[in-house]
């Protein structure tokens, strides 16, 4: 599997990321991957992954939302009254999601139409609120942003891998470009696209397979 390399943060005061900081980014790529280990955000992993282009836009959108909501919540974490913290988190997340949606509508309208309701549904993506509750509420903005980056990269590589397989076998293309030659579809060769890949059930099999492979490599077992 391709490993998404995280760009080195510019804002950090230290010249290099400390070991702890680096772990924040690399852990969610495999050992605590939000999809394969924590099984969060599965709904959108099934819904938006028929083609790579919308999947990439979705991955970038989720990254923007997770990183900035982590940062904002972490900045005001000591001001938020605990009784209304969930609704405050939701307000911030909704703000970012609507901003992302509006920006997509303004600059990549065709992709925004393909993603339709799923951009709006980032609000309900468990990864976002999961990271706010588990990390941003108790840590400084810098590490919170790194944590957000790591988790969304962990999400991104899984959905990109799923969409790679789905678009390749479902429509013979990658990023909309034909990969499997037209000629193969001729009756003499008889190649056909796999219709299962185009429906969510197909994604379910792929996600399950990725989870299986990942967990065998990591020797992960569910706690009893």
């Amino acid at each position: 599997m391709s490993v998404v390399t995280a760009p080195a943060p510019v804002k950090d005061s230290k010249p290099l990321l400390s070991k702890k900081d680096r772990k924040l980014v690399t852990d969610p790529l495999s050992d605590s991957n939000p999809i394969t280990i924590q099984v969060l955000g599965i709904c959108s992993a099934l819904a938006v992954t028929t083609q790579m282009k919308p999947t990439l836009v979705m991955a970038i959108s989720v990254t923007a939302v997770v990183v900035f909501s982590n940062m904002l919540i972490s900045m005001i974490r000591n001001l938020i009254p605990s009784r209304i913290r969930i609704i405050v988190q939701l307000a911030i997340v909704s703000l970012l999601v609507i901003l992302v949606d509006e920006i997509l509508k303004a600059f990549v309208y065709d992709v925004s139409k393909q993603l339709s309701v799923f951009v709006g549904l980032i609000i309900t993506n468990c990864i976002v609120m999961g990271r706010l509750e588990a990390f941003a509420m108790g840590n400084k903005p810098g590490p919170s942003m790194l944590d957000g980056l790591g988790n969304s990269a962990g999400y991104a590589w899984v959905i990109l891998a799923v969409s790679f397989i789905r678009e390749l076998f479902g429509s013979g293309k990658l990023f909309g470009f034909r990969v499997i030659p037209e000629a193969w579809y001729a009756p003499e060769i008889g190649y056909v696209n796999n219709g299962l890949m185009m429906i969510p059930a197909g994604a379910l099999f792929i996600v399950a397979t990725i989870i299986w492979i990942q967990r065998s490599i990591n020797n992960y077992t569910e706690e009893a």
Binding site: E102, A106, V117
Partner: protein, 234 residues
């Protein structure tokens, strides 16, 4: 302090106001870009029903398409731009207030001395608005092509109205019966819709969307007929 009611209300209020300000700011700044996209999409839809789908065709929109606005009596309305008409909104006003005057935009495409009328359609599906464009031959009877779209119909069910499988059925359907009276094209579950020039197959599991499309076709095509019949006689 952090848990006093005053603080909680104050904090909630401040967050709400800040979020609202940022969102309205962003909406205002991005609106011109979004409207450009909506206009482009509209023009591409209009061109697509007359088979002009190449990217360079879109740039020649004004050369291909002449637009007029017509009123309920089938007369052309002066000084109103076809693109300024919000048909869905006007129809909503009309349903609340029957005296509200509807005006419809009509796009006319001419090639090789033959006209094609492009009718704009607006209706409601299950979850929200559905709309479409229908290309009608010069004879005012034969449908050349139709495209549909929707705001938020159920994917896989009602949302299928914008697929080729559904839209493709409309080619060569007739809106008038043999005696020349208006019957529209009905979206129906009846079997053998293929043999009937006034019927197309509805979408399984998308009954309310299909009915919405059917009603939209009946209401809106009828409106245009007065004008089209008038210009036929001239």
């Amino acid at each position: 302090m952090l848990n006093s009611n005053t603080y909680v209300f104050g904090f909630a209020f401040a967050v709400t106001v800040l979020v609202a300000l940022m969102l309205s700011g962003a909406a205002t700044v991005l609106k011109p870009f979004q409207e450009q996209n909506f206009l482009k999409e509209k023009q591409e839809n209009i061109l697509s029903v007359v088979g002009k789908v190449a990217p360079e065709d879109y740039k020649k929109f004004d050369q291909y398409i002449k637009s007029v606005v017509i009123d309920e009596q089938g007369n052309e309305v002066e000084n109103v731009k076809a693109f300024d008409i919000n048909l869905a909104y006007d129809k909503k006003l009309k349903s609340k207030n029957p005296s509200h005057k509807l005006r419809y935009p009509l796009y006319i495409f001419e090639e090789g001395g033959k006209k094609t009328y492009i009718l704009q359609l607006a209706g409601v599906g299950l979850w929200g608005p559905v709309w479409g464009y229908l290309a009608l031959d010069e004879d005012g009877n034969t449908v050349k092509k139709a495209v549909f779209d929707h705001k938020g119909e159920t994917p896989g069910l009602g949302a299928e109205i914008n697929t080729d499988g559904f839209e493709g059925q409309f080619a060569n359907r007739k809106i008038l019966d043999e005696s020349g009276s208006f019957v529209s094209v009905q979206v129906t579950k009846e079997a053998k819709a293929d043999d009937d020039p006034h019927k197309v197959d509805a979408i399984s599991g998308g009954t309310i969307t299909s009915t919405g499309v059917s009603n939209m076709l009946r209401e809106d095509i009828q409106f245009y007929l007065t004008y089209i019949n008038k210009s036929k006689k001239v």
